[in-house]
Amino acid sequence: MTQHSTDQPDRPEAAVTETPAPEKEIAVAATAVPADDDVVLRVEDLAVDFRTESGAARAVTGANVEVRRGQTVAIVGESGSGKTTLAMAVLGLLASNGAVAQGHIWFKGEDLGAAGAQRMAQLRGTELGLVPQDPMTNLDPVMRIGRQIDEGLIDNGVRTLRTARARTVELLQEVGLPDAARRASQYPHEFSGGMRQRALIAMGLSARPALLVADEPTSALDVTVQRGILDQLAGLTRDLGTAVLLITHDLGLAAERADVVVVMYRGEIVEQGPARRVLTEPQHEYTKRLMAAAPSLASRRIEIARERGLEEVLEEALLAPSAETGSSDDGTASGNPDEPTTAALVQVRDVTKVFRIRGNGLLSRGRDFTAVEGVSLDVPRGGTVAVVGESGSGKSTLARMILDIEKPTSGTIEFDGAPAGGHDHRSRIAYRRRVQPVFQDPYSSLDPLYSVYRAIEEPLRAHGYGDPAERRARVEELAEQVALGKGVLRRFPSELSGGQRQRVAIARALALSPELVVCDEAVSALDVVVQAQILRLLAQLQEDLGLTYLFITHDLAVVRQIADRVIVMQAGRLVEEGTVDEVFDTPQTDYTRALLDAIPGRDLDLAV
């Protein structure tokens, strides 16, 4: 991207409420060389500091970004990269302990750094818009949706008290909210997540801003909802000629939606340029790494064996129906789910789980909720089966039943030929040694009072493994297996990074040498680079220890990296099953197709 060294003079005409004329067909503005006044936002050498107890911490350093009219610029980075801080600095919405330490933010020729609080408030209601990240926390819970949009229109003189509501309803219709007039008089808790996000988009665009900051606008939503909302947002901003500053951690999304991609790492912009160029020919080491780690449809199964040598590949091929041979034509060879194969370590047959939900009134009766309905599946020994579904699909309940934490209401689960779990205390304990979980949230899956050593040692102790010296040796061996340094052993969970915690959780699960490991969204809470490392670790461990995995996830891209077979669940039912390639290449149901379509960046041939 070209750097404009010429100083931007203050322009008086860039003052207030000129509604930007809807200019269509500007989509690919990056290719043309536009006139200077097309630049809506120019961030120059910006640095942002936060005051903390241990002195000032710099969250953004020397950032230069330019956004032109109608252009979408994506800022990509992991959590903590400073991408949100940069966006909030532009809006003048930094937390109270944050401040611009250096540099300028030029918006239509006006230096926002010099603008007072009142001027910023005025600009935010007219020329700058925000679509925030989490729809669940960004709407005032005690105010009707309509009023939350009205008040912005009224306070900025866009509409009067009387005419505001009609405009609000128009805006809600515009973002695809059905029955907008009635919806406007509802409260946020009566809206679903997707509807709330639509309301927030309407709010962000209500004053027809020249620049819209969209901060991870769909990260909190289910994938099938994400796509619709992103399309809506893109369509509207294109029609209105709004420039968009899109903040995201998702490279695929950036590639698909942005003209220009800016990559941030630890507060610095490490690379920027046209989206396709950055993503296909990354220059900077970090971008390359990010690209390599990004789970996308283009990625392939992590193949430890292939990297090691041919003999082992053959060996593995014998052990498990593997992904590299499983194309659509040999789907029959991978086994029919109705016919239990001898290799199956876990056999789930027609399992149903019904929860009783207590009524919240004194007289209201409880009602039944069927979380899982008539599900059957096999997990072959040494293989990886992924169960995919959106929130509420029953996938976690299924996992808990296999872990013997919940009992099925009907149906059977067999493990290695015998009923899963146990009929008495001893057999239950024995079952525990063979089946272990790794949970999603690395923050809550470790006891904050236990040091890493104690956490990994606990299962050994509980099952009377050896004497203290033997246990120590085993703990150190496990730590080495999951690539945790020895120094980490005496630390406490609060002193570890998310990835480290997940390694500890894995080591703990492996302590008793289980046969089956149930990973419930085990990598969902991690940044992509760390996620890739953990997936690799899991693959490596499977190779070394002959583990069987049941992988519960909502992220289809992850599935392709780790699984042999995929099971798609929707509303408690199994809707599709097959090898990874079958499901990804020739999905049989509309639902699976919708899930696949919803993954950002699927048509892009990324640099892998």
Partner: protein, 324 residues
Amino acid sequence: MSANELPPIDGAPTAPLHAPASIHGDGTDPAGRDTAGEGVWARAWRTLRKNPVAIAGFVIVALFLLVALLAPLLAPFGPHELPGRGEIRPTQIPGPSADYPLGLDRYGGDVLSKLIWGARASLLVGVLSTLLGLAGGVLLGLVAGWFGGWVDVSAMRLVDLMLSVPSLLLAVSIAAIAGQTPWSVIVAIAVVQVPIFARLLRGSMLAQRGQDYVLAASALGLTRRSVTMSHVLPNSVGPVIVQATLTLATAVIEAAALSFLGLGGGEPSTAEWGRMLTAAQQELAVAPRLAILPGICIAITALGFTLVGESLREALDPRNRTRR
């Protein structure tokens, strides 16, 4: 990520990208290098030691403890002695003098001595009633949290019942049953605290039970008892300990209130802050110091425990723990 929280940047915020290894963001050294291997309680202690409010609280509590424990050495007169009995006239109560640094009260007791012995009485009431209430509440909460089901329901109904009566009334009623002895005050205050501790512990245990690490521990094959004892309970005691510290303050105040209402038996001239304050009512116009001095003693002692309790609460607050 919301812009309101400081982005968690590894160790050096502005460190540029050096070796590829540092990209991992995982496996590298996290922020607090010098404090590695520090548990929640150790961290809380370190936070407390740096907190001036906590230090002030600790100093007050330490002074109070010293005075209470060393009362026999510090006090010029014994707890029941009335050395100035002869100098008291119905119309006149001698003020501070060389013999009696803080003057006499209307029974002829040395106010300084009585204040010092009063510290001992307050310590006794405060500690004993808090320990009793804690024991009762923890037992009730544990039983409820342990057995669940109808045991839980009935325990919590009992707690609701006890909380439906304003605390002082409950204490008065209990004290009425327990009779006119100093013990009745201790028992009354303890009983009032039982439902508070029980509800706190049960709620805290319930919250912990939902955590993944408890689930993981059960999945390791640990029995319900060891999961509760080694995971749920240790993680639930934080709020209970904070509450116990704050209760020490409440107990001192409540004891004074019960004395004020004439409960607890004994002579009106007993060396006890609440009793002294009550007795001083009649001489408010003549000798206000008789009311002010014990009142200040009560307030400062309560302040000490409150400051310690509040800073402990802050130090243990999981929201204040660094998360990466």
